[in-house]
Symmetry: C2
Subunit: 413 residues, 2 copies
């Protein structure tokens, strides 16, 4: 209960070292976009860069642009830029495919390093695709490996000599709770297991230190805090020490030691390139690189500081203005345990979010009852938190969730 006044919040905005970044995004005035953790906003620079790629590189350069415009090395070049955001070294990250497909590569590669173990472990309530990919691998293994989930608090105790690989998301997609990457990795290694980290909700939102945590594998998506565009390509991290032995099951030609030798037998590339598979989309890669370049200009410590401050302001205002309106905080209040979103449960969560969207506040809803508000320090302002919470109060006081249009849930919200 802090009594944040508009004047106080506007003062924070004036002093914000990241304030200049907002102008780098296309955002219509009046829109409160608190869903950048689902799809990041459009960087202004992306359209002109895409036009150059389409008209110049594709249209004029045609096939010669694979070398001439350096398309062929883009997965590695953009991967190296992402590595710099994640505490990884050049040559440890490559851009390719989707997060789901990279999960498959990372989990199967980890299994190839622990052939005597049969369990892929995760927590119940992890982001669905992470667990689904585990289940697909287990089904295909013909009984050789098993996919298992346990309650979040039981994960560490479950680590025994059967567990080959632990699959966890660093920042939980629903609650925004942060796992201690270094501590969990250490415990897993003590038990002889490897870890695959999903960084989809952490990359670009908080400092990540993969090598500081002695991480093995990681994956993540490009379209959330990295602002790479809808369905942007994903990336995969493989620690240098594992690269020579980790075999990619998805052994496509782009991961071959010499893709254009057209040899009959697969020979994996020496380094991270073996985790490429098919031909990557150059247009999607171009947009992703624009988002990454913009992110790289910002100081990650400043991003984290502002993200946490935005969260504190938002929660303070919710406490103050929405007390007694039925909200239960789902995210950790403790800064150290919170990512860059604030989630509340509310029995009318779905209807509330629909009503908010109609009034210009975009967040999202996750079944059964969670409202998520993503905090993107590059383009949100402190004063936006006040506008958002005021709107939430208005909607609840007017019981605007009670609208026949919203009795049936849409597929994507």
């Amino acid at each position: 209960m802090s009594g944040w006044s508009r004047a106080a919040l506007e003062a924070l905005d004036r002093d914000d070292p990241l304030a200049r970044f907002r102008a780098g995004f296309q955002l219509r005035e009046g829109l409160l976009y608190l869903d950048g953790n689902s799809l990041g906003a459009l960087p202004q620079r992306t359209m002109s860069r895409l036009e150059q790629t389409v008209r110049g590189e594709w249209g004029e350069g045609l096939i010669t642009s694979w070398l001439g415009a350096e398309w062929i090395t883009a997965p590695r070049r953009v991967g190296d830029k992402i590595a710099a955001l994640l505490g990884a070294a050049p040559g440890e990250v490559i851009v390719a495919d989707s997060t789901s497909v990279n999960l498959f590569k990372a989990i199967t590669a980890a299994l190839s390093l622990r052939p005597e173990r049969g369990v892929i472990l995760s927590e119940a309530g992890n982001f669905p695709t992470d667990v689904y990919m585990m289940q697909g691998i287990a089904a295909f293994s013909g009984g050789r490996v098993r996919a298992e989930t346990v309650a979040p608090e039981a994960v560490l105790a479950r680590l025994d000599s059967d567990v080959a690989v632990l699959v966890l998301t660093q920042v939980h997609y629903k609650s925004g709770a942060v796992r201690d990457m270094a501590a969990v990795t250490r415990r897993a290694h003590e038990a002889g297991a490897l870890v695959v980290w999903d960084l989809s909700h952490s990359a670009g939102a908080l400092p990540v230190d993969l090598n500081g945590a002695d991480a093995d594998f990681a994956v993540g998506c490009g379209y959330k805090f990295l602002n790479g565009g809808p369905g942007a390509p994903a990336y995969i991290f493989v620690a240098q020490r594992h690269q020579a032995a980790a075999m990619p099951v998805l052994s496509g030609w782009m991961g071959h030691a010499e893709p254009f030798a057209f040899e009959d037998d697969y020979r994996p590339a020496a380094g991270i390139e073996r985790f490429l598979c098919g031909t990557p989309s150059v247009l999607a890669m171009t947009a992703l690189e624009c988002g990454i370049d913009l992110m790289a200009e910002a100081d990650m410590a400043a991003i984290r500081a502002k993200s946490l401050a935005l969260g504190r302001v938002f929660m303070d205002l919710m406490d103050e203005q929405c007390a007694g309106l039925g909200f239960t905080l789902v995210s950790p209040r403790d800064d150290a345990q919170r990512g860059s979103q604030i989630a509340y449960a509310h029995p009318h969560g779905y209807g509330i979010m629909q009503a908010l969207k109609e009034r210009g506040l975009i967040g999202d809803f996750r079944a059964p009852d969670v409202l998520r508000f993503g905090l993107t320090p590059l383009y949100l302002r402190y004063a936006d938190m006040l506008d958002a919470v005021s709107l939430i109060r208005e909607v609840c006081e007017a019981r605007a969730w009670d609208d026949p249009r919203w009795k049936v849930r849409a597929a994507v919200t």
Copy 2:
């Protein structure tokens, strides 16, 4: 030896029912682009459509465009348009991932339908990624399945009760030779095997009749004759009769029966959607759809007729102008057996192609000695064949391959 005069060829161009399509592509005057079988040219409409997707749908609509701009149904919508080009029914084709990843899905799904059989069969010299993906599957299976290649002419004889799935490319990437899809599929079915067809060099180049051939699975790429842009998304066909039983090993959230229910266990979607995996790139999908829409406006019989005629003219002119210069025809001369490219072997193939590129003729080179000339009826003219062959003769007569710059082969040519 027909003595094609420029006047005769220009007359063919005047009468060409597809002539109007050339203006729909960005192609600089004077360029002879005979590599549309590797990367199709840029449709003029693509840039403005992409701008609408980027600035309007992503920039303004943001997350709401998944429903509002129908991004979520695009893989199926574009898949249905591709199905119409391939003799498939709506709901049998979906756009997703790369050709390599779709090969993995198709082969593993076929294996799931033939659990008692252990061989994935292909021909030696098939496009590398097809065989590499087979090898990755075999390696991961822990001995349960085996990847095997035999000489092209030995494929049918090898079909026995061990073979679960036969993987073939309809139009060979190097020679352009066409396999008889219906006959091969019939023979495979008689032996109890399923077939995965790679259509990368046939879709958009010649009429394909998947259901007429009783095909099981097929995959193909979007960036060749379909003009979907560099690294465009690929597609997968699964015959209606197999969809309920074929299990996708790559069980990502977009293939779930209810992706946004965020359930803990994977339940595959009822139809072709189960062959989706992760979140697709909307930008890449947009460019692909532009290429498909343009292709759909053309008559496939007219495309095939012109493709074959361009090939005959090209070979006639080569016979006439380049006799004794060291070229050996690799492609079948018989129309019925030839796809939409003409390949020649030449001991100085690499240097010749480099010299041609410098002079404005773009084809490509495939090790060890093959020059490929792709024939794309939507934007090539009959007179271009004369210009191309004249240039080939010039380069050879000048021994222009003998240039120190071309002693070392570039990675991508």
